[in-house]
Amino acid sequence: MSSEAEFGTPPGADTSPGYQPGSGDSTRRGLRTYLIGLGLASLMTIASFWAAQTHLIYGPGISMAIIVLAVAQMGIHLVFFLHITTAPDNANNVLALAFGILIACLVIFGSLWIMANLNHNMLPTQQMMQMQR
């Protein structure tokens, strides 16, 4: 048993995402989790719709505020609706999620970077036409 303590999670202590254990007391706890999630997610949604229309925030900062709120709301959905936590029994799910986020970020920011670079280095259409003559 002591070797298990050294290695953290012993084998067979995993859980699946979105799993709701048991009934009775767990249900009450689960209901509270979903209600907190709904409350926080609604708050984030209202905040980002408000941020899109308000004149109280510095103009160029609005889109950044919306992105930050979106990321926060995704985190809330993951924790309260999909039950992805930092507990040791969730390590596999979190690692898979981290890899997915890495690939998604590479695809999105990589595309933006490359296309912006191409746009920057491309001749204006007018000049291109003249060169082809």
């Binding site: 048993m1 002591s2 303590a5 953290g8 999670t9 012993p10 084998p11 067979g12 202590a13 995993d14 859980t15 699946s16 995402p17 979105g18 799993y19 709701q20 254990p21 048991g22 009934s23 009775g24 767990s26 249900t27 689960g30 209901l31 979903y34 999630g37 709904l38 997610a41 949604t45 980002s48 719709f49 941020a51 899109a52 229309q53 889109s63 919306i66 992105i67 979106a70 995704m74 959905h77 993951l78 609706f81 999909l82 507990a87 029994d89 596999n92 799910n93 898979a96 999620l97 890899f99 997915g100 690939i103 998604a104 970020c105 695809v107 999105i108 990589g110 595309s111 933006l112 296309m115």
Partner: protein, 219 residues
């Protein structure tokens, strides 16, 4: 002392699993993981690859955002009010799906069916609003063939809509299976996958309403 610390560190999940779910739901230290964990993890991997597919559509939209071909831009087209209602529908639908998860854990046929019905009706309302928006865009001459911006918009949001449609068909199947076959172990595993799918679609919608609609109307 050490043993007590380990059993404490394991958290309640393993202990609870043994207490309430019976032997089939637990994993022993020397055997393979239970079916529920394998099914759930496999579906989680599928969902992540689905999200990666969506990230390619998001990248295309972000790159082609300005390519409006002299036509209407995002700021001129999108109606934030209808998007707000769509968002509320999908969030409530996701919450109702969570309630269905609790009802299934309680083995309550009535509450399961009611929660799933609410999930489905809210999803249907979302889909109706989205189709209305699409048809009004096409009627205004801003169809997917007009510009690269609109092509990428219809691909991204339409792909999410197709996922919702597939999810609604799956939801109807789950309701029928719970009704006809009861709370069998394999049906519960199917429902676990469905609830993951439905919550993941709501997460993708967060990205869509933030990056496409709200950012589009701001800039």
């Amino acid at each position: 002392m050490n043993t007590a610390a380990v059993s404490h560190a394991l958290g309640n999940s393993a202990a609870r699993g043994r207490g309430t779910e019976g032997h089939s739901e637990t994993t022993s230290a020397d055997g393979p993981a239970s079916r529920r964990i394998i099914v759930g993890y496999g579906f989680w991997i599928f969902l992540l690859s689905d999200i990666i597919m969506f990230s390619a559509f998001f990248a295309a939209y972000a790159v082609l955002n300005g390519a409006t071909n002299g036509g209407p831009s995002a700021a001129q087209l999108f109606d934030t009010h209808s998007v707000a209602i769509e968002t509320a529908c999908l969030l409530a639908s996701s919450f109702a799906c969570g309630m269905a998860t609790l009802a299934v854990a309680e083995r309550s046929q009535l509450w399961t069916q009611l929660a799933l019905l609410a999930t489905g009706l809210l999803g249907l309302a979302f889909l109706g609003l989205e189709l209305q928006e699409f048809s009004s865009l096409v009627a205004r001459g801003a169809g997917p063939t007009h510009s690269a911006f609109l092509s990428s918009f219809f691909t991204l949001v339409g792909c999410h809509g197709v996922h919702i449609t597939a999810g609604l068909l799956w939801l109807g199947t789950m309701m029928a299976q719970f009704y006809a076959k009861g709370f069998r172990q394999n049906i519960q595993h199917r429902f676990l996958c469905f609830s993951l799918f439905w919550h993941a679609l709501d997460i993708i919608w967060i990205a869509i309403f933030s990056l496409v609609y709200l950012n589009g109307t701001v800039i």
